[in-house]
């Protein structure tokens, strides 16, 4: 059931009111749209009900999950999206909210079945923007092949009127035989990433400082399930997958090295970074390897599978390094002039350098 701040039972005697609040592009979300009354009812009927493929889900008190085949198991993931700005080159928070959760499921080898959508909207938010975001959500969810089965909406007074937060939880189905996790990582495994790093972060940072036009860059925000299914369906042996969101490739690799207890060796010069991202990082003192992506993942698999993996993932994928045999649990970044750097987690907030 799609819920709002309070339950609402429309009196049967009240005639249906034309949805004035949502008829104009300049109309804004009011506190009453989450207040359990008429406006909330209109919001659900006009904007949220169309997101449900199966209308029964919108009316039920709790979501009914699909039947699970005997050779499969369910996996679940949840993620909250607080991206600023809400619209960025290559996507918006609606698309991101589907990609983020579906990509988490994809890293287990799963295909998404069902999703929840919780919206926290600031009072005064433009309906025009809300519709654009919900449209992105719907089209991306359709692309993912999943359906919305439950949701919730809250409207709260915030300092800024252009804020909206989304939480999505996703349930996916994975074959019982598919085991992708850090404990599967073996010495000698290849480390492959599916494309260049840092686009999503730099896109957002550029949009925040109004330098998007100069950067001419699109976020990599996209669904990863087709690439992952491509690998699994080709019968390639994969040991572990990890999407490269917050903290980026380097942090993901540090986590995997620690979890597996093995040493990862990555060749710095192989790490693909496009020119606008590299330039931006140099100016600001960032490292692309630590920046967030929303359409990139690392694949750890036996060395013998490298060619097949690169064929499936396409020309942007790069074999950047290998898992070593030492049980140090660290990541070593190899420079091609003969030194190596032990990678450490960064502080956690991107702070531009001073000079």
């Amino acid at each position: 059931m799609h819920k709002c701040n309070e339950p609402y039972h429309e009196p049967s005697s009240t005639p249906a009111c034309p949805s004035l609040a949502v008829s104009s592009d300049t109309n804004r979300v009011q506190l009453a749209h989450g207040g359990g009354g008429k406006l909330m009812h209109e919001l659900i009927q006009d904007e949220l009900r169309p997101l449900y493929q199966n209308q029964e889900h919108c009316d039920r008190d709790s979501a009914h999950l699909p039947q699970i085949p005997s050779d499969g198991r369910l996996v679940m993931s949840t993620d909250s999206f607080v991206v600023d700005p809400l619209f960025f080159p290559g996507g918006d928070i609606g698309k991101l909210a589907v990609c983020g959760t579906c990509n988490d499921l994809a890293m287990s080898g799963a295909l998404p079945l069902a999703m929840s959508l919780s919206l926290i909207i600031s009072e005064g938010f433009l309906f025009r923007d809300l519709r654009t975001i919900l449209h992105s959500f719907k089209t991306t969810l359709e692309e993912a092949g999943a359906e919305l089965i439950t949701g919730d909406t809250k409207v709260i007074p915030l300092e800024r009127q252009d804020q909206l937060y989304i939480n999505t939880s996703g349930v996916g189905l994975v074959s019982s035989s598919c085991q992708l996790n850090p404990s599967q990582i073996q010495p000698g495994d290849a480390i492959i990433i599916n494309g260049d790093l840092g686009r999503h972060s730099v896109c957002l940072l550029g949009a925040r400082s109004a330098t998007s036009d100069v950067l001419n860059l699109q976020s990599d925000c996209s669904l990863l399930q087709d690439q992952v299914q491509g690998l699994l369906n080709a019968g390639i042996e994969i040991h572990c997958l990890r999407d490269l969101t917050r903290g980026g490739f380097f942090t993901a690799l540090i986590e995997l090295a620690e979890a597996s207890g093995l040493e990862a060796q990555v060749f710095e010069r192989r790490i693909p970074v496009c020119e606008p991202v590299e330039t931006y990082c140099e100016l600001m003192g960032y490292r692309a390897g630590f920046l967030a992506n929303e359409g990139r993942f690392v694949c750890i698999a036996p060395e013998r599978e490298v060619t097949k993996i690169l064929n499936v993932l396409g020309p942007e994928a790069v074999h950047v390094g290998n898992v070593g045999s030492h049980s140090t649990g660290v990541v070593k970044l190899e420079k091609d002039f003969g030194t190596q750097e032990v990678l450490r987690r960064e502080y956690g907030e991107l702070l531009p350098r001073i000079c």
Partner: protein
Amino acid sequence: MKHLSEYRHAPSIIALTRSIKAKVKTPLRLLEVCGGQTQSIRRNGLDALLNGSVTFVHGPGCPVCVTPEAAIDAACHLAKNKSVVLCSYGDMLRVPGSSESLLEVRAAGGDVRVIRSPMEAAELAILNPQREVILFAIGFETTAPANAATLMLAKQKKLKNFSTLVAQVRVPPILSQLFQSKELQIDGLLAAGHVCAIDGEEPYTHLAAKHRVPIVITGFEPVDILLGVSRCIDSIQAHQFEVNNAYKRVADSRGNRSARFIVEQVFEITDSEWRGLGVVPKGGLQLREGFHTMDAMIRFGLNQGRPPRSPTGQASHSQTFKSASRCLAADILKGRLSPPDCPHFGVSCTPSTPLGAPMVSTEGACAAYHNFGVPKPSSLAHSEDTSSATFQTRKRPANAQVQ
């Protein structure tokens, strides 16, 4: 970016390294005073590459490490004022004053904004006429021109709600002080390329001659740094106590006269406290009288009853961090002690549990060693993470090419 690939070019780095090692007969000690160079040396393992031929001595080159505690205290105090928007360069947020950092003040509700350019602070003042916007103007000669230009703009636009908290420092006076110290044993200086891009060679020519120290203006990429090292060795061996410029692609020998002109319009030279180092004669900048209306200390009455300056850096440090009396930051900043030789390094002092500013700031020497590994872990047998505290030279991998 062609400048990056050219100046990170492995064959050039290898050739320069070989050439340096071949011409060094006895190990040399070179001082650098720039957090960017410290980071580059450590990140790329240049010290390990030179394998004892050259030891890099890291001076007070981290701008936020030397910003006095009293200035951070004033910034924290101002940021707690609900009418104030305090604008600061990013790394400054993490370094604590006597009791807290700007990050902590922000978490408690203070309006602290990270800026990439000081002009962003002026824009904020224009867009928010009901708020008091304060620019925390810190740094070396590199930040002074943009900070000064922002103040000139604010004055020109008659911004009534814009002011600045100034903690600008100057490099040549601290170098003079370090060179006079008998404790600092160095053979040459790699001068910070971007500071020299503003100042030019002139302030350094006098220093080189007076203290008989060869000085090479040096950039930041591995090839830049090794080129600076190579030129410095040539000067040392030829007993040429003069300034050489190995960063001509950015630093003109005359510096940037327009930038200096702007700085001179807004700031005047003053004695200044450097955190950990005490008061350095002519070591800083203060606002000229014509800009006093934009002095946040005056506007918010902080110049009355301001905490007295501590006479030495050690005293200043003792109030800063928990257990700070143990911190040897003053010795680190003066180049007397290399971070891994500090008994607290990696044991009781890490970026998560810092005893002093050089372990907090990403540009600090201690953080640079901690984040990018230490060449000699043997003295750190009890380090919290000795397994990762290595930075070794290694043979070039046979499969270094992307397939």
